[in-house]
Subunit: 216 residues, 2 copies
């Protein structure tokens, strides 16, 4: 996000559930500034300590403009969770290139997620806080990701690359691997680990492809 030196992210469609939809390009930029500033504010202070006035100050936006887009701090938080879900999705999508194998798609999606989490370390704290501030958003976040992974696993089975019978359970398992590897290596990483996102995703991919049992 712009405040953290990263590249600015688009306003995700998902954010419009709780934000009023801007009609102009300038309005879209204002909404983006508010979402980015709120990510920093919620990430640093947590939901309860965060304040709308501090968010508008960080965003360089007038307090009145805030209420053009959001009814409350709660509405902004929900919009931010939806926006982060959407940005995780689009960052994974943008890492895909034509003719990738199903396994290559899993690796590229994870590497893109790790890059995203390294740049936006606050995402874990914000999604995790949603469990308490807005349990529906929290559950929707993971159910949506699991649905997407399941669709990829089923496509891989249909293409003959993955074994058959993969479904929801395997999707939740893959999501859990990715989330915890991200927590350890993108968010809690110490500087001693010099592996790139692609290398880490490659190690996870080897586990996912062939498991841990010794081959014959």
């Amino acid at each position: 996000m712009t405040d953290r030196g990263g590249s600015p992210t688009k306003v995700a469609d998902g954010a419009s559930t709780d934000a009023k939809i801007p009609r102009t390009e300038r309005g879209r930029r204002t909404l983006r500034k508010l979402l980015d500033a709120s990510a920093v504010e919620f990430g640093e202070k947590g939901f309860h300590e965060a304040s709308v006035s501090s968010i508008t100050r960080r965003a360089g936006v007038a307090l009145g403009s805030f209420y053009t887009y959001f009814d409350s701090k709660d509405a902004l938080f929900r919009a931010l969770v939806a926006d982060m879900s959407e940005n995780v999705k689009s960052s994974a999508r943008s890492a895909l290139v034509p003719n990738m194998s199903a396994l290559e798609i899993e690796q590229a999606a994870l590497a893109a997620f790790l890059d995203f989490a390294r740049e936006h370390k606050e995402i874990y704290r914000i999604i995790d806080e949603a469990e308490f501030v807005d349990p529906e958003s929290y559950r929707a976040h993971y159910e949506t990701i699991a649905d997407r992974i399941r669709a990829r696993l089923e496509a891989g089975s249909a293409a003959g690359e993955f074994r058959t019978g993969l479904g929801e359970l395997e999707a939740w398992a893959v999501m859990g691997m990715n989330v915890f590897v991200g927590l350890r290596y993108a968010v809690w990483s110490d500087n001693e680990d010099v592996r790139t996102s692609v290398e880490i995703a490659g190690a996870v991919n080897a586990l996912l492809a062939n498991g841990i049992a010794k081959g014959d």
Copy 2:
């Protein structure tokens, strides 16, 4: 825990970090009642809304007795997180029987965890809230589990059952699978899913053993 109709759990050693150690059997029972009551209270209300007086009321223990064992609500919360970590560990251990293969150990440990989480659904909320209330406990909880899984993976490699080169990254991946499968099938389970913990752990075990790539 006794309050939820399950069997009473022992006072874990880990709980003594923040609780004063009882010298008598009666003291141990009082401490156990306080920890069990606090799990229900923190699980239902969250840390901030939970109160010491409500916890002692649930426990049927005098308020003065609380301060015999804990300095504060914070100390109780830390002790509870350590106690839950310890109970997860001992429930997994008690599921092991002699001469299990390394894969069977993973399956039994996960099945035991799923049973534990079904009976103590509040564990997710409490551990997750530790990220905000006591970040060190939160990190220690997962680092400790990851260390234990890593030791099991290395033992499986040494025994020739698992491939070599498994380490911290694979341990975090396995932990993530287990945590998210537990969230979905033990905590968020709807009644439509009638699979037992052993069946769910078996499906995860198949994924862990051989991965998802189609065999030749």
